[in-house]
Amino acid sequence: MRWIWIDKFIEFQSGRRAVAIKNVTLAEEHLHDHFPGFPVMPECLMIEAMAQTSGILVGQAKDFQEKVILAKIKKAVFFDYVKPGDTLKLDTEIDSIAPEAASTSGKITCADKLIAEIDLMFSHIDQNLAGKEFPEENFVFTAGTSVFESLLRDVVSGNAGSGADSEQK
């Protein structure tokens, strides 16, 4: 089972930009400990949400043929708390993509209020680390899986797996 920490994409422009939604709920157990009587979303989980949004964008850019791993958090700045009931919008863009890596820059907003700026780097690990071998399994997931399709359900109808079709007009 994959641990998916975003709820759906609302925009997906292959190789360029993606916007995802994450709804925060008090049903998430960790919010009762973080903190008792003052539930706020841990910042590390905001980074995780951005890493999934950006990582899927980067993975899809190469048709999920590369094993994409989060390699570096270039920047993570937080401006406000996120509380149960909030809907986060995760907006990310690919700044650069090369055979061996990609860099992205993203913003998290909640009702148009800036919550965080998170810039990341991803490695295509098969292209790096000089011939070391990794398991065949793809760390993101492969094209056409039900998970990817379900995340893309609200984005322009058509073939979710191929970039051109899901591009926004």
Partner: protein, 131 residues
């Protein structure tokens, strides 16, 4: 784009300060990226991306930091040291780098020391002048 060496140095310094989270006084001309500034492999790619954006140039894989190809080739490396052929290859691939001191003891573990701030500045200067 006309840019003098001082301007290039200043921009390269800014790239390294942002990419590696170091202070401006650490980024001297002689500083080595790995030894002095703590760069790891993914940082080299980050630096390449940032340099491409800053200077509006394309930096082909292995051109600025060609060590990986070199180290994996048995023609170029024997017993942990670069062979004559390896050194010739290094000179050809890294004309922007001064390898005089390295030639006396071409231990591949010291290859990282060749990647200095100055080498990047030389590379960018050559690239901009060629454009």
């Amino acid at each position: 784009m006309a840019m003098n060496r001082d301007e290039i140095i200043q921009q390269v310094q800014e790239v390294l300060i942002d990419a590696l989270g170091v202070d401006d006084d650490e980024v001297t001309n002689e500083a080595t990226l790995m030894g002095d500034l703590g760069a790891e492999s993914i940082d080299f790619l980050d630096i390449v991306f940032r340099l491409e954006k800053t200077f509006g140039i394309k930096i082909p894989r292995e051109e600025l930091f060609p060590a990986e190809n070199l180290m994996n080739n048995p023609d170029f490396v024997q017993n942990g040291k670069l062979t004559e052929k390896g050194l010739a290859e290094l000179r050809e691939k890294m004309p922007h780098t001064d390898i005089t001191g390295f030639v006396d003891d071409p231990d591949i573990n010291k290859l990282g020391d060749l990647f200095t701030v100055n080498a990047i500045v030389n590379y960018i200067e050559g690239k901009l002048n060629a454009a």
